[in-house]
């Protein structure tokens, strides 16, 4: 069975959107907002918790955790910039990505009540951006606890080869030509990888996203190359390894901070089987001329195998 986990809009959800620089790893935005949305939907968290059936919905062979209710955008579509970032996960055959991508976009479009998105960025598993070790010009480096990627768990896999990425890109090019997506983007590409990758693209990426930790030390060659290729370098603070092994099992389990969807000693009623994460998508809808984030959230999809 497929499990569709959602955070709903996390902007007004309070603390889960805030990374606590002193205590938490940076990839907790997804996990803590999933948890908080589940708690929210379960009702009173103090009791042992109601059966998962009361706050989830089964439809079309999928279990929606929690029951998904779209929150359509309030203003006309043209007021918004909708950015979607799709995280392909490690150890998932690349030939599934075509279907996964469509599925992810459909979920987002349904959530936002929209027919298209402005920018689709894909994150391939295992890539992490290496800024050159050139010394910064800054004598007085920012004191910011800005760095985020050190809060990420080590990548579980090596990056895949360019041909695999290029095959995936074909899918995205199709979405682009269908008008579903206006611009395409990639994440964490250095100059060498970017050069090789571009040779394989018919529709070129408009965006390359780089982790903010490096924003003041992004190597000059990359900046120049991106300018030359008219690729915009954008910042982000996501972990490429967004869903480390075992995370979903914990969130759905019956232990501390679990939501009691999976069966355990104390929860015979729960679902049984192995949880295999498939992909994660993050979406952001920003009111363009006011710079206000109206809706931001995640979907994470997993297979439950008996």
């Amino acid at each position: 069975m497929k499990l569709v986990l959602s955070t709903s809009n996390i902007m007004s959800g309070g603390p889960s959107v805030m990374r606590r620089p002193f205590f938490e790893k940076s990839n907790t935005e997804l996990t803590s907002s999933l948890r908080s949305n589940f708690t929210n939907q379960q009702g009173s968290p103090t009791q042992s918790g109601p059966s998962y059936k009361s706050w989830t919905t089964q439809a079309d062979g999928a279990l929606y955790i929690p029951t998904h209710e779209p929150s359509p955008l309030t203003e006309p579509r043209e007021s918004y910039d909708i950015t979607v970032k799709l995280f392909y996960l490690p150890n998932i055959p690349a030939d599934r990505r075509c279907a996964q991508t469509r599925e992810a976009i459909e979920l987002v479009l349904k959530e936002l009540g929209s027919k298209s998105i402005d920018l689709l960025i894909v994150s391939f598993p295992g890539i992490s951006f290496d800024a050159d070790d050139e010394d910064s010009d800054l004598e007085d480096p920012p004191s910011a606890p800005q760095s985020t990627s050190e809060g990420c768990d080590e990548s579980e896999v090596p990056p895949e080869d360019i041909e695999t990425m290029a095959a995936t890109w074909k899918t995205l090019e199709t979405l682009h030509s269908e008008g579903l997506v206006s611009k395409l983007g990639i994440a964490e590409f250095g100059v060498a990888r970017l050069q090789k990758f571009l040779e394989h693209t018919a529709i070129r990426p408009s965006v390359n996203q780089i982790n903010v930790r490096d924003c003041c030390v992004v190597p000059k060659p990359l900046i120049l190359y991106a300018k030359q290729q008219q690729i915009e370098l954008l910042t982000h603070n996501d972990c490429t390894n967004i869903l480390p092994r075992g995370t979903l099992r914990q969130i759905l389990g019956s232990g501390e901070n679990g939501s009691g969807v999976l069966a355990s000693e104390s929860n015979k009623d729960g679902l049984r089987g192995d949880v295999a994460p498939q992909w994660v998508v993050k979406y952001t809808a920003v009111v363009k001329d006011r710079g206000v984030v109206e809706n931001k959230g995640y979907f994470a999809v997993a297979e439950l195998r008996e």
């Binding site: 109601p50 004191s143 924003c215 006011r290 710079g291 206000v292």
Partner: protein, 662 residues
């Protein structure tokens, strides 16, 4: 400060007679605007900053610096510069070029109260495009460059909040004798004020209404050799030109205080003000409320005013001096005499921290409001009859407890509902730390909120940093729906705290513990949400208001509390907002240098201008540890400020404020 129409201003006794008349017409004009514009929707974020300069004039040979009173000449030069006009710049009160088709129009310049001041604003408002934000600092530098080019070689536009020796002999050029008929100040001449009839009338009528001169008393800083008790040596007790000369003989100049007696000592201060356009009236009201508690924090963080009239003061910011410099309250209103002729006692000057919250936000608990707020009940009733809701009607009926100070005879003939002159008469002479501004009649401009507490900084880098920080805070407030409410009287208390020497490091401020909802929010988006039956549809009854806030240092408020569940910090909130946005790496890097300045000011790594100036004086060879800031020190200080403006710490001067950046 835009100039109102020219006409014949009434002297105070005449103006007083028509005060109610002006107020009621002002309220009718407000209602007309409110009816026309309350439904105005979906305005973009546009914003603007205002930079105010002191024009100083160096006398190199005598190692002396004076304030230049050539404002009018400089503005005339700016208004007739063909090149500037062709680029869309100029002086709106005189003439400006056509900005149509100009992508980056030249800045525009405005007169200010002090004849030694100049104000400059961008040629067009800023948007929220992040690349727009990076134009702010170059634009501020452009403004200063243009201003400088229209001055004499010996002059320079400097961004110190106050001129250190204003009020001493031989500090103005050209010089005039003090004790003129309008100000009746024993320290500064009438010519210190902009000659436009509005300004001398404002000063004169405030004095007249008050029944004596304004009393701007600042505690003097007690240094090793400062005589104690300290008696302001510049006060002349033997002057007999005007009845008001009795003020000092009647105790206007107490021991241990630097005594000043004119509007120019306050309204001659330079500030950094930011105005935002909201998407609609509701968003404007939300921004007004949520920015209010940040006011005192930003005042403390931008502290830049440690010297008055040639003496080190024991406070660091300008705010209360301006407040006292335009305080028109009568002895009855001040509570010094029993109420006989006046309507009420007034706890605050017309220039003060704000006393109202105005949003219809359900998070606004009635406990946050001031139970002792003074309002004009008749005017409030009229506003409510006119359809306005209670919160907004209360706000304006509170502003309208004041008398109009400058009334032009010509405007009293008939009520013109297509104008806002009477409304603006009161609105623009209520100088609170936030201002809620209705749209100008007939324009495309929407509802706006002005953030007014910040002190001007020495460099354009800092002024850009603080402007952009506030803009980003508003975006974070709206995106995360943050809640900074605390009782408004605590905000006023914080405003006082912000004055204390080095408040940024030494003091704590009342602040809300969590800007987020207490309980996980219910799914607020989308109508018809079907929540499980056992889920409370509303958050439980909130606990005592006192449990919602506590005392925090500026560092904790800006950078976050280092404890589980503690206040996340304004900078981390802004960064979290930026992480949700598509920002290119170069922009993010530049924004990071701005945020870094604020982060380090808050945690004490970098000094405020007040601390730096204080240190400059106290380590100057001419300083005798007696609190006196001499001509010699002032010359070197102003020269140093000019150098810092140009070098921004790169040459080492001022690095305690700015770090060794870039």
């Amino acid at each position: 400060m835009g100039l109102l129409a020219i006409g014949t201003p009434l002297e105070w006794p005449e103006a007083k007679k028509v005060a109610s008349h002006v107020r009621s017409w002002g309220i009718e004009q407000l209602l007309a605007i409110w009816r026309d514009y309350k439904g105005k929707e979906r305005d973009a974020l546009l914003w603007g900053d205002e930079i105010e300069y002191l024009v100083v004039c160096y006398d190199q040979n005598n190692h002396k610096v004076r304030l230049s009173l050539r404002q009018a000449d400089i503005l005339a030069a700016l208004a007739t510069d063909e090149k500037l006009l062709a680029e869309g710049g100029g002086v709106p009160d005189v003439q400006t070029g056509d900005t149509k088709g100009i992508a980056n129009p030249a800045p525009v310049f405005h007169p200010e109260f002090g004849r030694f001041m100049l104000e400059a604003t961008p040629g067009k408002p800023w948007g929220i495009g992040f690349k727009d934000l990076l134009d702010v600092e170059p634009n501020m530098k452009w403004r200063r460059k243009i201003a400088r080019e229209h001055m004499e070689a010996s002059e320079f536009p400097i961004t110190l909040t106050t001129f250190p020796r204003l009020g001493n002999k031989d500090t103005l050029i050209p010089d005039y004798p003090p004790s003129g008929p309008k100000l009746r100040s024993q320290f500064v001449p009438d010519e210190i004020a902009n000659p436009h009839i509005r300004f001398p009338t404002l000063a004169a009528n405030i004095r007249w209404r008050r029944g004596r001169k304004v009393q701007v008393n600042v505690p003097v800083f007690k240094d090793e050799n400062t005589p104690w008790p300290w008696k302001d040596p510049t006060v002349n007790y033997d002057l007999h030109n005007w009845p008001e000369d009795d003020d000092v003989r009647n105790g206007a100049a107490p021991d241990n205080f630097i005594h000043m007696d004119a509007m120019a000592f306050g309204m001659g201060s330079c500030c950094l003000q930011i105005t935002f356009q909201a998407k609609n009236i509701e968003e404007g009201r939300t921004m007004y409320d949520q920015l209010s508690p940040l006011g005192p924090i930003l005042l403390a963080l931008t502290a830049a005013t440690p010297i008055y009239k040639g003496f080190l003061a024991d406070t660091d910011v300008r705010w209360n001096q301006i407040s006292r410099a335009v305080d028109d309250r009568t002895p009855e209103e001040l509570g010094e005499q029993p109420l006989k002729n006046d309507r009420w006692r007034l706890p605050k000057s017309r220039y003060a921290s704000n006393s109202t919250y105005i949003s219809q936000d359900p998070r606004l608990r009635k406990e946050y409001l001031d139970p002792d707020l003074i309002v004009d009940e008749d005017l409030k009733k009229r506003l409510i009859e006119g359809g306005m809701d209670n919160a907004l009607a209360t706000h304006f009926a509170h502003l309208f407890i004041r008398d109009p100070i400058v009334v032009f005879n010509e405007d009293l003939k008939e009520l013109d509902l297509t104008k806002a002159d009477h409304f603006e008469n009161l609105q623009s002479t209520n100088w609170q730390h936030m201002r809620f501004k209705p749209p100008p009649i007939g324009s495309e401009i929407g509802w706006r909120v002005e953030f007014r507490p910040m002190e001007i900084q020495i460099t354009d880098f800092e002024n850009a940093a603080f402007s952009i920080f506030i803009v980003l805070i508003t975006r974070a407030i709206l995106s995360f729906n943050l809640n900074f409410y605390i009782p408004i009287t605590r905000v006023s208390e914080n405003m006082e705290t912000a004055h204390i020497r080095d408040a940024v490091s030494s003091q704590k401020f009342w602040f809300r513990k969590s800007p987020f909802p207490a309980q996980p929010a219910s799914r607020s988006n989308g109508p018809g949400t079907s929540t499980p039956a056992n889920m409370p549809s509303r958050p439980p009854t909130p606990g005592p208001v006192e449990d919602e806030y506590e005392q925090m240092s500026v560092n904790e408020i800006i950078n976050g509390q280092n404890k589980e569940g503690g206040f996340p910090g304004l900078i981390p909130l802004v960064e979290s907002y930026l992480n949700s946005m598509n920002v290119d790496v170069e922009t993010r890097c530049d924004l990071a240098t701005y945020l870094d300045l604020i982060r380090k000011r808050a945690n004490g790594t970098y000094w405020t201008a007040a601390k730096w100036i204080r240190n400059f004086v106290q380590t100057h060879p001419d300083y005798k540890k007696d609190s006196v800031v001499s001509d010699e020190i002032t010359y070197d200080l102003v020269k140093a400020a000019e150098q810092i403006t140009k070098e921004e710490g790169h040459d080492g001067l001022g690095k305690e404020m700015l770090g060794s950046r870039r």
